[in-house]
């Protein structure tokens, strides 16, 4: 079963996406900030992380940097309302695998997560 970690400081978004991916037979973990996210990546070993940028404490970009340092294989998709060119470039430079701005199309999100899973499967 594929595993996905959802990181967002809005609990309603976490719960909604949890339910969405559970319906698609994912094992889902959620985290509300960057520190929790790093713990979950180490404990839960997700294939894909959906990562918000604006969070209290360790923000999304710092979290992204640490995830990629510690677990370079994990696919990280930024899911954020912040869409300045600067942030997008920064995220890409730090190794983000995609950058999706909120509000998003659920169909696109599902497809993109599946793409990342497929890429990982191919690498194995």
């Amino acid at each position: 079963m594929n595993k996905i970690l959802i990181v967002d400081d809005e609990i309603e978004i976490c719960e909604f996406l949890k339910s969405f991916f559970e319906d698609r037979d994912f094992k889902v973990a959620i985290a509300c900030d960057g520190t929790q996210a790093l713990e979950q990546v180490s404990l839960f070993h997700p294939e894909v992380v959906l990562l918000d940028i604006q969070m209290p404490g360790l923000d999304g970009l710092q979290t992204l940097k640490k995830i990629k340092e510690m677990h370079p294989k994990v696919k990280v998709i930024m899911v954020t309302a912040v869409e300045t060119q600067e942030k997008i470039e920064e995220a890409m430079r730090l190794g983000a695998d995609n950058y999706i701005t909120k509000p998003l199309s659920l169909e696109y999100l599902e497809k993109d997560v599946q793409d990342k899973i497929d890429i990982l499967a191919k690498d194995l």
């Binding site: 309603e12 978004i13 909120k102 509000p103 998003l104 199309s105």
Partner: protein, 424 residues
Amino acid sequence: MPTKAKLPNTQKFDYQEVLRDVARSMVRLKRPDRLLKLITRFIDQQFGLAHASLLVFDPKKGHYVFVHSKGTKRLPMGLVKFDSDHPLVQWFSGSKKKLPFQKDFLFLSDVKKMLSRAEFRMASNSKGDQLAGIQKTMQNLKVELLVPGYFKDALVGLLMLGRRVNGRCFTTQEVTFFQTLAHDCSMAVKTAEYNQNLVEQNQELAKRLEEIERMRNKEQRTYYEIMRSLAEEVHAKEPYIFSHVSEVERLGMMTAREMGMDLSGKTKDLLSAALILHDVGKIGIPDNILCKPGQLTQEEWRVMKTHVEKGARILEPLTDFKKVREIIMSHHERFDGSGYPRGLKGDEISIEARIISVVDSFHAIVSSRCYREGRSIDSAIHEVRNCAGTQFDPVVVDAFLRALRTELQKKGEIPSALAEHAAD
């Protein structure tokens, strides 16, 4: 308030009453977005749903987003969007006649039923694809019932209702009620949109007015420049050494300063413009009169005197120059009341006009004209002084001569007439 409307225990509660409440709220609420929130909360509370959510078209972004969601399983705001080509939007947007299965509402159970029919199961069937997309979306959002809201046939929003917590189905009466609310929501959204547009249009209008004002100022400036050239032109045929216009302006400003007049900003511009433009009306006087050597006939004088009114009329398009026109009208008035065109006297003549009268005469005396040589400064000073109290305001004459003396002193050439004056 709709939220306070009581739902009786019996199934047949008074929808009419609730509708009236909603309608009243609509009128009362100046902020239509508040109404949307009220309606969403009302549905959630009265019907005991997992969630009641409202999806609304955002014309600026060009997609549909959730604006409100209430209930224990409420949907997050700002996460999900639906583009105009999404099956859900397509289904409700198409022309009603072309879609035999389209209704003004859609139950998940009906979508499932339709999909089970052979005609929709075929992969090539676009209607089937559309229904499959709708089914998936409704399942994603845990929606049991969709109720669209329209404005002039355009899909403004969708009321998305989750399952009832008690598991009961929605009655036909309830669905009709939701349709009314969805319609109210659309109206509220449109009202909010129009309000916003109105605000933006007002801002746009204010910006344009500013632009017009700027252009008007620019035009006035241009017109003023043209008038200034015309004023110079009046004297062009006369062999002044310096421009009469510039000299009169300089002497006038000098006198005003000597009199202690406030020469900041607008007052200065006003005096300066009057000094420059005072004779602009002479462009309307024939050359044979304007440059006639020797005495003018009575008729010629009559024509000559019209340059005052002509000047004032020429400046009419300069709306900011009302005061300048008044000054020009008075620059041939005499202090004792024997001048023209109105025979004003003393204080009735504006101070600016009294200044022009002195410096214009002085400069005319010392300058050569087409019909005679200019006279000496001494002679001009004498004449100006002699006319103080009759033609000229003595206070102005005093100030002018003081200023002139100071100026000439700097050049080291004090005329004898002024030496006398200083001794007085």
